[in-house]
Amino acid sequence: MRWLLLKDLQILRRSPLQAFLLIAYPVLLAILVGFAISRDPAKPRVAFLNEVPSGARVSVGQAELPSVNVDQRICQRVECVHVSNRDEAEEKVRSGDVLAALVLPADLVDQINSLSTPTPGTPKVEVIVNEEDPVKAQLVDDRISSLLAQANLVIARRIANEGGKFLNLILNGGSFEVIGQSVEILGLQSSAQILQVLRRSLPPPDRESLDQVIRFTILARNNLDVGAVLISRLTQPIAVDKQVVSEPTPPLDIFAIAVAATLTLTFVTVLLVAGSLALEREENAFSRLTRGLVSRAALLAEKIGLGMAIGLVVTLLMLAGVQLFVSLEWSRFGLWLVAILAGAGGLAAAGAALGAAAREVRAVSLLAFMVSLPIALLSLVPSGAVGPALYDAIEVITALFPIKPTLDAMTAALNPAGPGMAGPLLHLAALIVGYGLIARFALRRFTAV
């Protein structure tokens, strides 16, 4: 068997394009994954036009709220491209230079201020978008909804804050500005104290009426205390209490590395083993080999061994590449080896079954790619992303191919806080046996002269 393995490695060495792809693929994947998980998510470019006059303030009652610094707040969340007029903003959106344009009209603050008058207006901001494709449209809608919700929240908090100050003034007294003049407010607490003092100097028959006023001030003070809490709650009436019922999910960067490693292992191993087995037939060597030189089972074992060896080297190469961007726990190296070898074994057995199904290397390669790619994508579909019946079907399909259990094994091997590897390894062992038997059975077709 070792001579066949040597022969396959010699053939691989003689195929520069194939050898280059085997090295280039994991390196490229490592660079892409490394960049993706080591950088902050990119901010969308948005053209921004603020026509609100500087110094305009939102008022509550007679008081003006402090500046909320709209420009800074918005430009923290998106990459602002400042424009000087609406036409320029529209042109930038049309040309695709920016994802969308946000225009704050000159009367925005006036409209907000009108909300507390008998004739309230409708404050509006203008958003210009180019929904040339549905994904982009969805992205823009999500960003706008998020920005609008945050803007409303900021304004609500400011108003609640100012409202709370007025309530406090009524409760405890103090001073506030009205048209440039300071006005002193006595407050309920001081009023009650003054009334208590006055009460002592009044004859008992007159005290009853004053007692009613004192009770009212105490009652009002207590209820307005509750009111202040209620006003502050209005800004965020519903709080989120998140309960995680599943096992702890792996950190996103660990999961991304596991996905990259699994995809590398999948395409390298399945394509290599399927192609290598089909090559025996394409070169007419299968009949010659199996005429007593090598048993069919030994030939299959050699191909699976080849896939495992190359898959291991290429995947480790990819992980070493990722290490340049993200720190990996090399203390778990032993578990990586187990996961990679088990995954490669399952994928190689599946590759052998595919390789035995077609006559030509090119047809086999195409078949292997057409099978692997959709199953790899299906393996990444999370529960809840599709309907329950469809998800059940996806689970069945992905359980029949070794990509999903390989991903689970890789995730467990890379994640110190993750679940154990026993389940995925048992699953892979079953698939190795199953696909090995299918491949052995399919090799009978190779014998036909």
Binding site: W3, L4, I11, E283, N284, S287, L289, V449
Partner: protein, 242 residues
């Protein structure tokens, strides 16, 4: 069953069926040591089926193949070697798989026999069809067979390459290897086959020398007796209902 004492290879009552179709219908023959036996017949006659049974690649439904001693070398119609390996690497691989004590010495022997010693480092894909066929045959000889089975060995070769191939095969036969080859080329069978085995629809129609076949044509299809060998052969098949 017991074979004849002098035969290198003997087949008795070989029957092979593919579903309802009988590819071989009780074929009997024997080939002596150093004999060149040509298998001829129209397409679908059962030539490749017979060779694959003799090679042990497929099993007969009835009948037996008897090999008094040694191995049978198998050379399929399409060169069964690795085109991305060199001449030497191919020979070395199969010598190792044959578990030769000194594989490198066997490689040297085959390079000498094929006359390709100076091209040992060349990738097989870059060799001519004729040279690829010589390597193909050399690999078949690595098992040191008493009988070599060649399935249409000259297909796709130009006349010069064909002549070299038959020169090479003649040397093998002269050194005692029994060579059984199938061919569509009747002139080639007449020229290089010491004995002919004619198959049609799986039936063994004739066994004997080319001259004996001519005599059979004279008897059974006298109108073609003076034609060339191929025309006479076609007339013979027609007369026998094929």
């Amino acid at each position: 069953m017991e074979g004849s004492a002098t035969a290198a290879l003997e087949a008795r009552g070989l029957v092979k069926r593919y579903g309802d179709r009988e590819a071989l219908r009780g074929v009997d023959f024997a080939a002596d040591r150093g004999e060149l036996l040509a298998l001829i017949g129209p397409n679908g006659a059962g030539k490749t089926t017979l060779l694959s049974i003799l090679a042990g690649i497929s099993r007969p439904d009835e009948g037996k193949v008897h090999l008094p001693r040694g191995e049978v070398g198998w050379v399929p119609q399409q060169a069964a070697l690795y085109r991305r390996l060199t001449v030497e690497e191919n020979l070395l691989l199969f010598a190792r798989l044959e578990k030769h004590e000194d594989p490198r010495a066997s490689v040297e022997e085959m390079l000498e026999l094929t006359g390709l010693g100076d091209r040992r480092q060349e990738i097989v894909a870059r060799l001519s069809g004729g040279n690829q066929q010589r390597i193909n045959i050399a690999i078949g000889l690595l098992s040191r067979p008493v009988a070599l089975l060649l399935d249409e060995p000259s297909v796709g070769l130009d006349p010069r390459q064909r002549a070299r191939l038959w020169e090479f095969v003649a040397v093998l036969a002269a050194t005692g290897t029994t060579v059984i080859f199938s061919t569509h080329d009747i002139q080639e069978a007449e020229r290089y086959g010491q004995r002919l085995l004619v198959l049609a629809d799986g039936e063994d129609l004739f066994q004997g020398t080319p001259e004996a076949l001519r005599n059979a044509v004279r008897r059974e299809a006298p109108e073609a007796a003076n034609s060339d060998f191929e025309t006479a052969f076609v007339a013979y098949l027609h007369h026998r209902g094929h």
